[in-house]
């Protein structure tokens, strides 16, 4: 009897569900070892994490607050990655979404009053901000073949510095008692609340995930994007214009991350202030890979990550463990998941004396 890996001829549908589940269980077991080593009761800790995320409606609303930007940036990154455009600039695109929304919130909308039109304007400005920040590297790549990993990464730092400059400098609220940050936007353009701090942003994010999945898998444009992603040379021979499509897709990718930033300022902080660069844009990269670049799986992966983030905070507060433990647990979840991906592409077979079945 021998064990052997064999490549699957067709992707297994069952395994795309079973593999992540099994990986998750392994992760929890690994995490338990880590917790035990820290003299914490694993069961209690997991319980605390679970209750932290699901124990009350308020707790769950916190998960949604974190999941919203993670879904949107995850979708943006996944879209770009499907074209093998390594956009690691979701963080910067998110921040520029926040800046875009703030322009409308501070300079277009009246300080008191305003209406839904202004909210829509602010959302569009957020998407435009993100699209701008992704469009520049996309243009550089398609016109001049400038490596996008470098440009998108460096533009993250540019984005962080520009928004810090804005809320510390010219846009700083003179009546802010010295706290850095812009003045609050008019209540009329606050994103409507759902439960707790969560907003209707989550609903929009879910709808977008569904639409993006449909576009990518069922439409002509999605088919062309797949062709470009899988073999740009053949796509070119077959009459598909790669550069134009990459540019359009990247504008959308940036707009999605921009939307995430817009929802943060319009729905959570209601002003431009610190806290936009929390790393959602980087977590989005992990989410996109965990989801195998599938928009529907992005939603699940983003929810999982949001639970870990919220649950991690609970571990810190209730179990009095160092906050780093939460981060380590996150890492432990990811390694088996990514390693498990091999089983979606390969299958394990027992080789005995029998011939092929």
């Amino acid at each position: 009897m021998k064990l052997r890996f064999e490549k699957r001829l067709e992707a297994s549908h069952l395994s795309t569900i079973l593999v992540p589940l099994a990986s998750f269980v392994i992760s929890l077991l690994l995490g338990a070892l880590l917790l035990a080593a820290n003299k914490a009761n694993p069961w209690q800790t997991y319980h605390a994490m679970f209750m932290g995320s699901f124990g009350s409606l308020y707790n769950f609303s916190e998960v949604i607050v974190k999941a919203t930007p993670l879904i949107l940036t995850g979708l943006g990154v996944a879209l770009a990655f499907r074209l093998r455009f390594w956009n690691i600039g979701a963080e910067g695109q998110l921040i520029w979404g926040g800046i875009g929304a703030s322009v409308v919130g501070l300079f277009v909308t009246p300080a008191q009053g305003g209406n839904l039109i202004y909210l829509l304007l602010a959302i569009m400005a957020a998407m435009a901000g993100g699209a701008l920040w992704a469009g520049i590297p996309a243009l550089l790549k398609t016109r001049l073949k400038v490596d996008e990993t470098l440009t998108t990464l460096m533009m993250n730092y540019m984005a962080i510095l520009s928004y810090q400059y804005l809320y510390n400098g010219p846009w700083r609220d003179p009546e802010g008692f010295g706290f850095p940050g812009s003045r609050q936007f008019s209540q009329a353009i606050w994103l409507p609340k759902l439960v707790g701090r969560s907003t209707i942003g989550i609903i929009i994010a879910l709808v977008i995930a569904l639409v993006l999945w449909f576009v990518l898998t069922k439409t002509k444009w999605g088919f062309e994007l797949t062709m470009i992603g899988k073999n740009p040379r053949a796509a070119h021979v077959l009459g598909v214009n790669s550069n134009k499509n990459i540019l359009v897709a990247l504008l959308i990718s940036g707009a999605l991350s921009g939307l995430a930033g817009g929802f943060e300022v319009l729905g959570v902080s209601h002003r431009l202030q610190q806290g936009l660069n929390l790393g959602y844009g980087y977590t989005a990269i992990i989410i996109a890979w965990m989801a195998a670049l599938n928009p529907l799986s992005v939603v699940l992966a983003a929810l999982l990550m949001a639970m870990l983030l919220v649950g991690g905070d609970q571990v810190q507060m209730i179990m009095r463990l160092p906050s780093a433990v939460g981060l380590v647990l996150q890492g432990l979840i990811l390694i088996p998941l990514l390693g498990g991906a091999v089983f979606s592409e390969y299958r394990l077979r027992f080789i005995g004396d029998k011939k092929d079945v």
Binding site: E10, W221, K230, A234, A235, G239, D356
Partner: protein, 508 residues
């Protein structure tokens, strides 16, 4: 018969892959000094068997004996230590390193700081001995395909290979280079080395080998002394039926001009392959063959005529529409179909399914699309029809194209392109690397298009193919179209004459 014990013996080799049995209890024997041809169609299990021998694959069953001793080969390094080396179709060379560096790269017993000068001198010795001319200081990227193959052979000789395995060695070579390779192999065997080469070309079997083993569907069909067999017998053994070496073709009745190219030139880095003032016309129901050694502008011609590279001068008119400078999509919309020379990199998308590859041209039009949404059922029916009509052998529509054999990948491309073709078909090396059965199918299909009134531009290196299929034959050299032979003048020696730069019509 030779009474010496065999140098190499493979016994009862079995190797399974998902869905296929690549080797089914195959035996193989090699005497010292033998040149054994391993003959078979694509997917017959030739490469798999050799990959087992050099340790890339582990056999599921079977044993290997070297000099009557059972050996265990778990990796190419094990094989190298036993003096068995394989030169793959895809060369394993690093382009931005020199010949000498490549030769010692990955060698097992290397000192920490090897002296390149010593290596270079030894390379020069070997290259002189075998008449393998290579500059050890040249960068691989500056070498032609034929030269790179020489480097591969040198590398193996340098490392003391006693059994050299060559996988389709002449597929990428010019006739002259093939001849040189034959000399090198003879020189090696006269010194007691042995060679196995994988091929599906009869001509090579007859020219190179002293023994031939025919494989089909993972099984041995026959082992023969080359001198005691004929190409016809081998072909029959290989495909299990009599092979048509000629193509049925209707009489030549050209119609209107479909493609009209005037003074077409392109820009490019390589002087040799830049197009220089090409003039040609193709009419309905006509095949214009383009002969010449690869790299003389044939690929540029095909790419210019499908909109992938813009002309720097001149004009391209297709079906009375000026296409000069238009994008590939305009050519596609004007009914131009293209079978590119590299079927994996340009013609198909390996990671996508057979069905998707077949619809890659049709998806733009009804009934396959409705308001931007792909219509699953019509696509399924269409793909089903193409798979049946073109006899593409695939487990299902959903199978990724990269899992098909070369012949079936080419049939997939052919099916897609011929279905979408309306007027002009550009085919570059359509039968390159295909087995006899697939070659015949592909050629027949192209000729059928011509009979139905399509204008065809056929680029090929195989003179037999060009003579058999074409109504007129032009020769490309250094980016120019030298002259076009018609009717009686389409003969082997006349084409050869033009390739050397003499145009017979000029006398008349």
């Amino acid at each position: 018969m030779n009474n010496q014990p065999p140098l190499l013996k493979m016994k009862g080799i079995v190797k399974h892959f998902p869905g296929v049995t690549a080797s089914d209890h195959v035996d193989l024997q090699l005497q010292q000094g033998d040149v054994l041809a391993l003959l078979g169609e694509n997917g017959a299990g030739k490469s798999s068997l050799m990959n087992v021998l050099v340790g890339i694959y582990q056999p599921d069953e079977g044993e290997i004996f070297l000099n009557d001793q059972l050996v265990d080969i778990h990796s190419p390094a094990d094989a190298e230590a036993l003096g068995i080396a394989m030169i793959h179709q895809e060369f394993m060379l690093i382009p931005n390193m020199t010949v000498a560096e490549n030769v010692i790269l990955g060698k097992q017993d290397l000192p920490l700081f090897p002296s390149l000068e010593e290596v270079e001198n030894k390379i020069l010795d070997i290259s002189k001995h075998y008449n393998l001319q290579v500059d050890p200081r040249a960068f691989i990227s500056s070498l032609s395909v034929g030269e790179r193959q020489r480097v591969e052979i040198l590398k193996m000789l340098y490392r003391g290979a006693k059994i050299l395995i060559l996988d389709e060695p002449t597929a990428v070579l010019t006739p002259q280079e093939s001849e040189d390779l034959n000399h090198v192999i003879r020189r090696m065997t006269s010194e007691g080395k042995s060679a196995i080469f994988i091929t599906h070309k009869m001509k090579e079997v007859m020219a190179f080998s002293n023994k031939v083993q025919v494989l089909a569907k993972g099984e041995t069909r026959a082992v023969k002394d080359t001198a005691k067999t004929t190409p016809e017998e081998l072909a029959t053994l290989m495909v299990g039926r009599q092979v048509l070496y000629n193509i049925e073709k209707e009489p030549f009745r050209p119609g209107d001009i479909v493609l009209d190219v005037k003074r077409l030139s392109t820009r490019g880095d390589r002087e040799h392959s830049r197009l220089k003032e090409i003039n040609l016309q193709i009419r309905q129901g006509e095949i214009l063959g383009i002969a010449g050694v690869a790299g003389n502008g044939q690929q540029e011609l095909a790419e210019a005529l499908t909109g992938q590279i813009p002309p720097s001068e001149g004009s391209i008119t297709i079906k009375n529409l000026d296409m000069t400078g238009k994008a590939p999509i305009s050519y596609i919309n004007n009914g131009v179909s293209y079978i590119p020379e590299d079927r994996g990199a340009m013609g198909s998308i390996g990671d996508m399914s057979v069905g998707h590859n077949l619809i890659m041209k049709g998806y733009r039009k009804a009934p396959f699309i409705n308001r931007g949404i792909l219509q699953k059922q019509s696509i399924f029916d269409f793909v089903h029809k193409l798979i049946k009509n073109f006899r593409i052998s695939t487990p299902s529509q959903e199978t990724q194209v990269k899992f098909l054999s070369g012949g079936n990948i080419q049939k997939t491309i052919l099916a897609r392109e011929i279905d979408a073709c309306d007027g002009l078909l550009i085919a570059a090396y359509p039968a390159r690397g295909l087995d006899v059965g697939a070659t015949e199918a592909v050629r027949q299909e192209i000729v059928k298009q011509r009979d139905h009134g399509t204008a065809v531009l056929l680029i090929s290196e195989e003179l037999d193919e060009l003579i058999m299929m074409s109504d007129r034959v032009g020769v490309m050299h250094s980016g120019s179209l030298l002259c076009i032979l018609e009717g009686e003048n389409i003969q082997r020696d006349k084409i050869g004459l033009v390739m050397s730069g003499v145009c017979p019509e000029e006398d008349q």
